[in-house]
Subunit: 572 residues, 2 copies
């Protein structure tokens, strides 16, 4: 289990600070991530990688010449926020455009995608590169739904080498996509992992068994099997990859045998001994294979095997030198003595606060109190929501909601005290929520509160009709960003009936507390009903099946918030 | 726990093979270890490091330019045999003499020491370098008794850089000893580790607690404490090292924060964040610190902090480039293309087998049967002996005895079938035992059987007097090599009364079965009595205390063997 931390919620940030201190000669700290201490050449394409923390050396350990220009670190197992990705990428840009590389998880797709839009709007040409190497996570007919695991290293190495070689953005994107298309991984787990501060593991594997195809956040695999000798384990990892060997390929491969955290290097070497035999029998030519820890999963026990089917260009880029804290290849010329070492510290400047009318300031104060209650309720529910989420995902939902809501409440308090109106308070509370929570839910709650706030003015006290209209706007924003529809087993399933019922009650002339309470009731019933649904969003079948009979955590927390707010409103 | 293996007893050898395959471009396999693929310059001092397996990257991962010329890998947590150390060193010798570097553990001291003697006898000037950095393992007034932990890396780095710089053997030895004298480590454990194939951990730490000062084989520490936040943990590691800061030192230090296996890099970075603050407050100047896994302990959870107090020469050698699979510093010029890559495979040639007389051949056949019985009994007792040994050491005694005796039995069978006499069979069975068992007991049983065998001729059937005389010779050889005296809680305590009683019975005219059975009885009683003794051999106090009330595993297994042989002799 994870034992070394101070406050669990500070784990990722403190680890980032410690990493930057340990490699002060190689990387420069930047809010939410790290840059190369010595910037890439002007006009070079910048490769910015990232995702949740807990996977070191992914992603910070990849920052260095020939590999990534920067890495963004989210909280543990949670995607970094859109603004975090954007600000790190902004600092890493060398003028040649940006490639955002990440594993194919809903939260990362959402936040890196939104960051790319934001950067393009600012005039920085940005492409996204979602790695989809895990053959266990979806059928080969749906490779776009596959998760990204240790193939990250192979794909990022190609992109980084291409960028270092001076290829332009289109060319780097093209070769990186080909690398991803040629990369396959298959993993097994022997034991679960524990989030900092949690007493129980996020998931477990039956003692003496193997979770075959299990994902790096504990997403369930294909089957559970009794533990087997190393020779058989090697075959178990090898065969699913060979099953997708490209037609008539000459057999040149880059191979990565990856340990997940608690599986020892010596165990990996035992496995490698058997794998070299299998590769030989299969007529593969191993090009500079790697055995070690490259994408881990906290203290999870297990390993994965990745292959990239090479062509001449991919082989040359794979062989090219690289020099990062966690990955080195070949020999590089050292940075010229006294080369500029970056020290980036500036956060984005605070926006000016517009004063609200007296009435709106009073509403803002109430809003701040309501957000305090919501934050309290979500803090209490954190573990329970995590358990529910673990049935369908990586179990970080409770943590994300607790972090986001407390950040939103704090921001609302600050703004209300500074005299802001209700509209400003709610909008900016939404931004604070998204930035602190990260992950999928953080991004969705951020746009929801921002949209909602824009329908409450800073001039008058919001009335029931404004609130109902704002709710509809918030719902529309969530659908637009998340791309989910009712029935996909997301918070949408609770949000839709809530909005409809609220509008219905308000139109029928009910006062806000009454209409809201009824709407919250509908949301609660709908959330419970999600137990019978299967999730969508590029998830593997077994994962979906595990969640059957369990409600969606996002829907449950939305209903919880609705009830808390209703109770507060009724109290007047 | 350790999960990836085939037959547990093959774990270390298979891991070695896999390591050599994974780094085929950097290292060359050699029996029981690995050499640099590209040999050092002619006349260069060769640094050969080693110890038990299970500590990767110690020791194989250190083989490379600027660091070690070769590494010897024993079985898991067991010293390599004397002949393994000697043969690897022989292959690594560049003509400038050899430094044998290892951690200060009884088995390693014994086998590396004996190997050094053997090499010097062959004309290879050889020095031994026992690392003694663990401040928790003995008082500062007895630093020579301290264990070697992650300080290995610091001391070996200095020795390796000095050798690479072309310093001669005396100079390399001198600076390496100064490095060891200036190096201190302190470690903590959060959870135990499990030997391959074992269902239960070798030792445990109370859940939610810290084993403060606990050793890398589970040797007990100073105290057990409740788990504390990372900031306090940093102080816990830091303060014992500062307590031994040299008078008026300027504060330049090389620092290594080492993870023991299951403690994650991100956890180490969290700790490092706090440690940098403490170093600053203490006025230390950190010279190229290292954070990561350098000396592990299978799947043990925990970490250690090491400092080397630098002077100008030590700083220059610490900063010097190094390039090994697990440790790189600075930038090295690549090996010239097509540089000679060594492929070492030859085992020592089989000795010619001298035929024995018909009578002696018959005795040899009996001897072979007796050794079969002994091997069976030790295989049955393996786990029990491991449990007893774990009270005072690393729990590998049962495994070593089982491995050694079965190797001895197999060798005896081979020789008896080839027509060798009893003397040759017993002597060479001893060599086989030592080579396969490794560790302390392996070396001692090896010299014992060899000495004993030299008193049985290949001409006549051995009589009771020859056997009793051989027993005395065996005892003398064990005392000479092991340096232990009766009362030190070693196998000597059972061996001494056995030899005395056997001689007594034989002199009184008893037949061999009768005299031997009585002697075995004395050995058994003496072995039980060792429960009241405290072990010697450079062990830390808490370790000694833990073993009180438990008999010595070596004495117990000697008595067991004596009884088995006695029963066989009585059966006729």
């Amino acid at each position: 289990m994870t034992r070394v931390f101070d406050q669990p919620e500070d784990f990722a940030a403190t680890a980032l600070a410690g990493f930057c201190a340990a490699y002060a000669d190689r990387v420069a700290p930047v809010p939410h991530g790290a840059l190369r201490a010595v910037p890439g050449a002007a006009g070079k394409v910048a490769l910015v990688v990232g995702g949740g923390s807990g996977h070191y050396p992914a992603f910070l350990g990849y920052v260095g010449a020939g590999l990534a220009d920067a890495a963004v670190a989210g909280d543990v197992f949670a995607s970094p926020s859109t603004s975090a990705v954007a600000s790190v990428a902004r600092a890493a840009d060398c003028g040649g455009g940006v490639i955002l590389g990440f594993g194919n998880y809903a939260g990362d797709v959402l936040n890196f995608g939104a960051a790319a839009q934001r950067l393009r709007a600012e005039g920085i040409d940005t492409r996204i590169l979602a790695v989809t190497d895990d053959v266990a996570s979806a059928d080969r007919s749906e490779t776009e739904k596959r998760r990204g695991v240790a193939g990250d290293l192979l794909v990022f190495k190609i992109a980084g080498a291409a960028a270092e070689a001076g290829m332009d953005l289109d060319a780097v994107e093209a070769v990186a996509r080909r690398a991803n298309a040629n990369t396959r991984s298959f993993g097994v787990a022997f034991d679960g992992c524990t989030l900092p501060g949690q007493g129980a593991p996020l998931f477990t594997v039956d003692p003496g068994h193997i979770g075959v195809g299990l994902g790096i956040h504990g997403e369930p695999g294909i089957r559970s099997e009794k533990m087997v000798p190393a020779a058989d384990l090697a075959r178990m990892l090898f065969e699913p990859l060979m099953a997708e060997r490209p037609e008539g390929h000459d057999g040149r491969v880059a191979v990565v045998l990856n340990g997940l955290g608690c599986t020892k290097y010596e165990e990996l070497f035992v496995l490698w001994h058997h794998l070299t035999g299998l590769c030989q029998q299969a007529g593969l030519q191993l090009i500079q294979p790697e055995v070690g820890e490259f994408v881990t999963s906290l203290d999870m026990a297990g390993c994965s095997l990745s292959v990239m089917w090479l062509d001449d260009e991919l082989e040359a880029l794979w062989r090219a030198p690289a020099d990062s804290p966690a990955f080195r290849k070949g020999v590089l010329t050292p940075a010229p003595a006294g080369a500029p070492v970056r020290r980036v510290t500036a956060e984005a400047p605070q926006a000016q606060i517009a004063k609200g009318s007296a009435a709106s300031q009073q509403s803002a104060a109430c809003l701040s109190l309501i957000l305090d209650r919501v934050a309290e309720a979500l803090a209490d529910a954190e573990e329970e929501l995590g358990r529910i989420d673990a049935q369908a995902g990586d179990g970080d939902h409770g943590q994300g909601m607790a972090r986001g809501s407390s950040a939103a409440a704090a921001e609302a308090r600050r703004l209300a005290q500074a005299g802001a109106g209700a509209g400003t308070v709610l909008s900016m509370a939404g931004d604070a929520w998204a930035d602190r929570a990260g992950g999928t839910s953080g991004a969705l709650w951020g746009v929801a509160l921002r949209a909602w706030g824009q329908h409450l003015t800073d001039q008058t006290a919001p009335d029931a009709d404004m609130v109902a209209t704002g709710a509809q706007a918030a719902y529309d924003a969530v659908v637009a960003l998340g791309g989910a529809a009712p029935g996909d087993k997301t918070l949408i399933d609770a949000f839709a009936p809530f909005v409809a019922r609220l509008r219905e009650g308000v139109s029928a002339g009910a006062d806000l507390p009454t209409a809201w309470t009824a709407a919250a009731q509908s949301a609660t019933e709908a959330a419970q009903a999600t137990a019978e649904l299967l999730p969508k969003l590029g998830r593997a079948r077994p994962l979906a099946e595990r969640s059957l009979g369990h409600p969606d955590a996002g829907a449950v927390s939305l209903a919880l918030c609705a009830r808390v707010v209703g109770a507060e409103l009724s109290r007047g």
